[in-house]
Symmetry: C2
Subunit: 427 residues, 2 copies
């Protein structure tokens, strides 16, 4: 039933039915949350054994002989670099392993640019009218960092192959006030798409107008596959090496969604020049990261095969949730012409585009019936979706049966909001 083809009378009837459905949801007094990309309790349990890897009789020495209980080793323990090197497809020598938050590393990197600058350029904080490219829909916390530091956020459309590279090139190669771009290149937050080979190559070939333009390549979901035919991301590191453009990029990743979201390990990589700037910053900022937690990760994951085995266990828990969420949409919304959505092969999110002007209403309807979604607009710079259309679904946290209830409500809300809108247009 295509809602856009219904007469006013048919729409009124449909809306009345949907309102009746909605009331029944309200009577259930749900209290469910699909707002953030949080692993579920069952996923957390997959890493519980990591906690017992260290005890009084453990060896606390890293491979270079450092006692991980004491001060030192600003770059983190060497053995973890190999794991991140394999995960991120970057050179192990150019990795810094840090604390529990890659967002914190990205924030520090932007902050370093603002107060001290990169490659000998004037600090960003001393330059005026700076801009940062934000492919949208994208990750709200990325956008917030550059917003907090006073950049003008420039929206670049996200396409099924990655950011609109015509737009990226136009801005970055012609305007020296454009200083960087946020990217989640694999299983993007929230669309779940993976940048195509051509997109990665165009990033590697980018010739920014500003010498201190930087690509923030947040490969947060690099090993977070959910199917037997996972997406394959071309290594930007290797492409940049070929093009001689390594200094244009900061690479990030973490184990937040491999081990524990609150107690994982973050990592970044960069070319030698950028690393010099970052290491200087780090040497003043801290005496070193928590190396015992890094050691726990080594003892628990061992190597990249350990990571892959752990991700297979995550997949077994998460994949059915994605399947359920997508099936509910297929069953209840497909063919109604009220929404479209992505079918990700990995990551943490499904991106749903409801009828323009309806996203806030859908989120409100869900909230008033006890289901919290990511705020409408969150996936756009400044939290403002110009179409009021995009909603990010995070299906990992609720248990399966709760997810089913939440998705039933969500589907009803999509159609109810659409019926309201279409009717208001016929008045």
């Amino acid at each position: 039933m295509d809602f856009t083809a219904l007469s006013k009378r048919e729409l009124e009837g449909t809306k009345a039915e949907l309102e009746e459905d909605y009331r029944r949801f309200q009577e259930k007094h749900l209290s469910l949350n699909m707002a953030r990309g949080k692993p579920s309790c069952r996923q957390l349990e997959l890493s519980n054994d990591m906690l017992a890897t260290l005890n009084s009789s453990s060896s606390f020495l890293s491979s270079d002989g450092t006692d991980c209980r004491n001060y030192g080793l600003a770059d983190g323990i060497p053995e973890l670099r190999n794991i991140f090197s394999a995960m991120m497809e970057v050179s192990a020598d150019n990795i810094i392993v840090g604390g529990n938050s890659s967002l914190n590393m990205m924030f520090n990197t932007v902050s370093c640019g603002v107060t001290h600058g990169f490659a000998g350029c004037e600090p960003w904080g001393c330059q005026k009218g700076l801009k940062f490219l934000c492919p949208a829909p994208g990750y709200d916390r990325h956008f917030k960092v550059t917003e907090y530091f006073g950049f003008d956020l420039v929206t670049v459309p996200m396409t099924p192959t990655g950011p609109d590279m015509d737009a990226v090139e136009k801005y970055a190669e012609n305007d020296p006030s454009v200083k960087g771009i946020w990217c989640v290149p694999k299983y993007e937050n929230p669309t779940g798409i993976t940048f195509s080979d051509e997109t990665v190559k165009r990033f590697a070939r980018l010739k920014p107008a500003a010498k201190d333009f930087r690509i923030f390549w947040d490969n947060a979901y690099c090993v977070h596959d959910l199917t037997d035919d996972p997406d394959r991301l071309l290594s930007l590191w290797h492409e940049c090496e070929k093009e001689g453009t390594l200094e244009n990029v900061f690479f990030f990743s973490s184990t937040s969604k491999i081990t524990f979201p609150g107690a994982g390990v973050s990592a970044m990589a960069a070319g030698d020049g950028n690393l010099r700037d970052i290491r200087k910053y780090n040497s003043v900022m801290t005496i070193g990261p928590d190396k015992l937690n890094q050691l726990r990760h080594i003892y628990f994951l061992k190597d990249i095969n350990g990571v892959k085995a752990q991700m297979a266990r995550h997949r077994a828990i998460i994949a059915p949730k994605f399947k359920t969420a997508l099936k509910k949409l297929d069953t209840a919304v497909k063919g109604t012409n009220t929404a479209s959505w992505t079918t990700p092969k990995g990551g943490y999110f499904i991106s749903v585009d409801v009828m323009p002007g309806c996203a806030k209403r859908v989120v409100e309807l869900c909230k008033n019936a006890g289901v919290t979604l990511t705020g409408a607009g969150a996936t756009y710079p400044y939290g403002k979706d110009p179409q009021d259309s995009n909603i990010r679904l995070a299906p990992t946290y609720p248990p399966l049966e709760e997810l089913e209830q939440a998705m039933d409500l969500f589907c009803t809300a999509i159609k109810l909001a659409a019926a309201e809108k279409l009717l208001s247009e016929k008045l």
Copy 2:
């Protein structure tokens, strides 16, 4: 034997004997380190049991019901606030518990001032010609932070009762370009002195010319007593509450020298206004600290009594080292008029003032015989001691017998450098 009273001939004889002693040290091929305030291996072992407090069957819930394995709780887990509240003598409601490094928290706080400012003032980065007060001898890493952010470092003399408060008041109350001061109020690094009640009260009564002047009160050694009659530091928090000046201060501490230097927990406290600024900064910077490590601290230390018991165990290991170092100085250097030193009742350091112009030479002599000391000058802004006189001793790291050897060499070096200097003046 007062070196300054010796004739040229007597000095030559003394110098020759000292050179002979020195050669014997060189023949031992020592490789010892007294450079940094690092806990020894035996001290690290005191906290090994903390590592096993978490395992698969632990409760991972904080007292407010948060699963510490997952995202969230930007201020840290509530139960740790009570411990830090008792340690720091500040209100538990105004504490943020963070990651493994209080230096990192201080760096972030300065960085926040530089990029965003405090109390609605223009960011420090937009103001010109700013100064920061550095009581010296003091902690090199403090000075480095404000140097890195471009402040002019203004040396304030350290006295036996704390920083020269006449100088502090003169600068802070008359010059709005003075934006803050670094303080280690108890068992100061490196002098080991504790600020007197009068000094604390004068800090509380300070009326800075700049609204965004801030005291960085790094109470790193608040529970680090080494004697039965420990120093008692007046609570600046309570004094400031009386005076209505709480917004002038940021308070810091950590468990780095209670549990693990590399894997402890840091904390900061501030008045409501400053906390608003810092919480906003933190909310963009990270999703939250490593709460599992916080939980380990709670399970291991339990409460302030657990902290005190742990510190008694540290004392049992450290106090004999301080005693040995001081005894060596008393036996070999006292009465020679070549050096003076402090006798701290706690903390991690002994501050030695050798003959003016001799500190670099003493450090060089020690280094060439295999003992690494903190670089001469490190305790002064820009690493430059105008008198070339102060040397920071860190006696905690080496085992007792190694410390004895290192101290014997150090005492010889002090006297040899003095003999060299006095002789050169007689030429």
